[in-house]
């Protein structure tokens, strides 16, 4: 199978890759780029563990042929911390005990970031909808919702 040359931006860095045309984005992120924070759960778009932000939208990377990401802009969980400092959402997850086994955490964090990027002061209901695409089997939803809400309250509103 002929290799294809593609490039995209991951967590602020341009990467150039040679891939097989039938590879999926999740596997290129994990196996080629070593970004193992993106988890492989169901591989059918149902559990949300592989969620990433692609071109400003949270999507399941298990459903995306890598060729489709060519030229795109990607954020994975590894892209959340800046200069060794955890992202406010990550800090809140730690402080509020919103992590148990951790498998859903990357998907939860990226779902939350995508929400706050578009809607800095969401209601609890809006938070629930935003994380509804990620399953937590430790069933720690309440603490996750509280952690996201605590961050949203610290983002100054436009009128303030």
């Amino acid at each position: 199978m002929a290799k294809e040359k593609i490039q995209f931006e991951v967590n602020g860095k341009q990467v150039f890759l040679e891939v097989d045309p039938d590879e999926l984005l999740i596997d290129v992120l994990r196996d080629h780029l070593g970004l193992k924070g993106t988890k492989a759960g169901c591989r059918g778009g149902e559990c949300g563990a592989c969620s990433i932000i692609l071109n400003g939208k949270v999507v399941t990377s298990c459903l995306i042929p890598v060729m489709k990401a060519d030229g795109g802009k990607i954020t994975t969980v590894e892209g959340l911390e800046k200069d060794g400092e955890l992202h406010p959402l990550q800090k809140a997850f730690v402080e509020k005990g919103a992590i148990q086994c951790g498998f859903c955490t990357p998907g939860m964090l990226l779902s939350a970031k995508n929400l706050l990027d578009q809607n800095p002061r969401p209601t609890i209901q809006e938070i629930k909808v935003a994380i509804s695409g990620v399953l937590c089997r430790c069933t720690g939803y309440q603490k996750i919702i509280h952690a996201i809400h605590s961050v949203s309250k610290t983002i100054p509103s436009k009128e303030a």
């Binding site: 294809e4 591989r43 778009g45 949270v58 399941t60 995306i64 042929p65 489709k68 399953l135």
Partner: protein
Amino acid sequence: MNLESSLVWPKRLHWEKYFRPRDIAEALKILEEFQGKARLLAGGTDLIPQIRNREARPRALVDITQIPGLDEIKLEGGVIRIGALVTHAQVAQSPLLREKALALTEGASQLGSPQIRNLGTIAGNIVSGQPGADTTIPLLVLDAKGKVKSEKGERIVPLTEFFLDTGKTTVDSTREMVTEIFFSPLADHESSVSLRLARRKALALPILNVSVVVSADMKRKKFNHVRIALGPVAPTPFRARKAEGILSSASIADGAIKEAARKAAQETSPRTSLLRGSEAYRREIIANLVERGIRKGLERLEVRHG
């Protein structure tokens, strides 16, 4: 899915070629060249799992997401047009559709999850041909039509003639492409509703989807007509024509609404299913949701004409 394939995760999906055509003609040409062995790819939310489960084995994928101009929702000459690449998220957030086709907005915002709504397209949702598809059911009561193109030409297919069997439509997705879906915006005396019952509120297949369009003269307390669609209750998405007939030009009254709801439950053919419950239960919820949908449609007209 058999047990073995659900336990093993083949990473490679074994298509040999991946094309990114820049216009519709180029996409159709590639499909024709591959003689049934290539598939169109838009959101991929159905196709990629099908390939993984070995239900589809295309040699080539034709990614249409780079084709410009297909990602718009517009009102043009009194017709609402939804391009082939419009996602469920776009439909859910469209102010135009919220005002003129609320049932479709409601259907799209209940589908899958934010991730799936960001990827999946409503054209893909109808081409997949699932009898309970969240955007198909509202499109049926909106009397939507699809524009279908192939190398041979173009045809217009009303959604009521679109579905042949579960997972099977008149569109051959190895040779044809739905380029847009279109329908008339609802008038001032019309309202629409979609209701959904599922085991969870997200990431769960529907036990039942019901969509209703109510056209009524609220001053004279009379229905003009009502359109009712349901799924999954039969091998294809279902229009409850007999129930609709009961309400055609009928007075707005509890008796007629309940009779129509019961008729809808009778004229459908739900089967006992592990996922969706017994036949008796399903008939009961069909009657309940149809009644609730009609009442909600009337409520919306009342609020509007206060």
